[in-house]
Symmetry: C2
Subunit: 434 residues, 2 copies
């Protein structure tokens, strides 16, 4: 019995490891097209920043580790070009064919350079692999660019903008939509725009970049372009093999992470995930989800029966000293999903003044009809992750706002005011639904 896993980063290796734990006799083979496996891609910006001294530092485990400690074979440089499910076979780029009994597709996502004219120019970078990060770092050090354009105001674009600013570059971020983080929230975007401006980072929304010229983008002179937009699932090969792809363009999976083909599972950035608030599949490729869905795919591929409940779309980042986190739906998104949303925002100290409390802002979105909490965001310096996680936990449990407003949250002066900002925000938004 052989399990083949296509992809050797977060989802693929989580799947392989979990499968091994449930079945010590299963033959497990991981095929990774790149040279590196098991690296924390989320740490690559911090290699550019200098906090991480080399991309190798971000490698969690080596192929040797998997072979020796977990009896999992990992082949790098092994690009799968086709899957034939009737034959239970994958074909590698060199023509080699490998049999599988169970298959986990964890092919990830890519930033499609070719979608932008000039995307192949030498001064254009993505930040998906250690090799690409190394190339960008060398460019920064050797060419000393002075003006950067970042394309995309999602997680990666915002983090990259700060890193480039730290390197002394003038930075403009161009975002095709009206909003940052794909959030459809004008107030939130404005808050971030103002914050970035204080650090001399320009944010221009509703500016779709279709072409990069040698020394300028959308009329703005620049000698470095970072692409951080249009992440697309690597689902084409799966589709050709008869694996169903959802409306999002990513592989459709059941709550068991199984595709429409029996014995074929998908996980991570190539697959959809169930959104716990909308109740529909969504494409939100994030590292933590890749690990969780990989685990479930691996367990079920090894004969287990696990399910992945779904996500609420939690995302956090720190940019220029401000921590920013979102989860669930914004008011606009909620309305589009058929809810009757109201939103309220509060800003107050995150601790008593005598413990150096700093401003934190919380917005909560609630459905007027059901009084159910639908989403929220938190900004501040400290404790932002803890507060967004409470909202995410409430969303996973479909909490109503009055229950949320009475949560027994930790109170002591070094940590929070007696009414936690989350509870104050709950009181404010509850007034709008009363």
């Amino acid at each position: 019995m052989r399990l083949v896993v296509i992809g050797g980063v977060a989802a693929g290796l989580s799947a392989a490891s979990r499968a091994r734990r449930l079945d010590r006799w299963l033959e497990i083979l991981v095929l990774e097209q790149g040279q590196a496996v098991s690296y924390g891609a989320c740490g690559l910006p911090y290699y550019l920043e200098g906090r991480v001294s080399s991309p190798e530092e971000l490698v969690v485990y080596t192929p040797e580790y998997f072979r020796q400690e977990r009896n999992i074979a990992v082949r790098t440089g092994a690009q799968v070009v086709a899957v034939s499910h009737p034959r239970r076979q994958v074909t590698l780029a060199g023509g080699e064919r490998l049999h599988y009994d169970r298959l986990v597709v964890a092919t990830g996502a890519r930033l499609d350079r070719s979608a932008i004219q000039g995307g192949e120019l030498a001064q254009v970078f993505t930040l998906q692999t250690p090799a690409e990060a190394r190339r960008l770092k060398e460019f920064l050090e050797q060419r000393r660019p002075r003006r950067a354009v970042v394309v995309g105001a999602g997680y990666l674009g915002l983090v990259l903008a700060e890193v480039l600013r730290t390197h002394g570059l003038a930075v403009s971020i161009f975002e095709a939509t009206s909003d940052v983080l794909g959030r459809q929230d004008a107030g939130f975007t404005e808050l971030l725009r103002k914050h970035l401006e204080r650090f001399h980072i320009e944010l221009r929304c509703q500016t779709r970049i279709t072409a990069i010229e040698a020394e300028r983008v959308a009329g703005v002179p620049c000698d470095l372009v970072a692409l951080a937009c249009g992440l697309r699932p690597n689902a084409e090969m799966a589709a050709e093999a008869g694996i169903e792809v959802g409306r999002t363009g990513a592989i459709r999976v059941s709550e068991r992470a199984e595709t429409n083909l029996a014995g074929v599972y998908a996980a991570g950035d190539c697959a959809e995930a169930f959104h716990l608030v909308t109740g529909r599949p969504v494409y939100l490729p994030l590292g933590a989800t890749a690990n969780k869905t990989g685990r479930v795919a691996g367990a079920n591929a090894a004969g287990g029966r696990e399910r992945f409940a779904g996500i609420t779309g939690t995302c956090i980042l720190r940019v220029c000293g401000l921590s920013v986190a979102v989860t669930g739906l914004s008011e606009v998104q909620a309305r589009k999903e058929g809810f009757d949303p109201v939103a309220a925002r509060i800003e107050e100290g995150d601790k008593p003044r005598y413990f150096g409390g700093r401003p934190t802002a919380v917005e909560l979105v609630v459905d007027r009809r059901t009084r159910r909490l639908l989403g929220g965001w938190v900004t501040g310096e400290d404790a932002v992750s803890g507060r967004i996680n409470v909202i995410a936990t409430a969303l996973a449990n479909r909490m109503r706002i009055e229950e949320f407003g009475q949560l027994d949250l930790a109170y002591a002066p070094p940590f929070a005011p007696v009414w936690d900002p989350l509870l104050t925000a709950a009181q404010q938004v509850a007034k709008l639904v009363d």
Copy 2:
């Protein structure tokens, strides 16, 4: 229509303020036996520490503020000595009688000095009121004591121990039970004992103090004794008035904060609260609960229909640089409540190493039969409040461990590892129930 509120601190003033918001015509009279109202008693240790320069800084609102801004009459020095419900009357110490239509009892709790022989000696202190805090601060500055005994290893005892240590005193904590924070958790107590030892604070459990001598307690020489044990609800007067008191000794209330007498409500440290994990009333006097129950009592006293869902017993403190938080039940407590608990503890970095991750420990307790999460604790330096709050939110929603282990918690390198320590702990404890 007149609402009388007995007690002018957290619960009483929350009740009065909430009642005013729901009914602008109601006559509202708050009777406070002390001289100060609306002070944050939780901040008093930080006045001793020096971070807060005077107890006045902890006063949130003055009686004048309530009169002018909220049309709420607040009388200080007004000690209620009796309640006659048939007459709808309270009697003050001077003999004055005041009519009420609705009554909120928010008489708080007290540390009973008289329960300990020698409790009235000049070197014995409690820390319940600003006046008492001032007396202790003067004693510290003028008498320069060298060796302190703290009686009680609850929240206040632990915080006071650190404050006294900061003042240069040798400190021993004597606790009557086997455990700190009333948690019945030997491992957690041991962890705290070791931490305190590093700061030369001695913790002796199973040492009940019944007498204080002039210069020693339980054989240990000392020139200062801080009482931080045996907080008891001020429920006697209510009981004499026919208000039902529960087995805990505190006033029994419905989820509407109403007592057995129609139109008489109770809230805060004098009342029981419903425990969301055990499903039974419990006596856990804490400031955040006082504010919430006061709010509900005030709303219903003003004709509203609000309910207080209950508590999970969340408690947090920082002691000698370590943040420590508990919620729900320990394994021993869970067994006593009839559950079939298992517990697992993990310790790992709270962030990636390159973001200066520091050790954090998480213990989760789960019921083997239902797989329901029952409680947990978290220790560490950073993000402890956020993590305990996620557990508290999960408990309020009766989450099962496998759902908890898939929560969409925020991940980015500045904040957490890709598997949040909460999720890793969930995986560990899930293995024990599989």
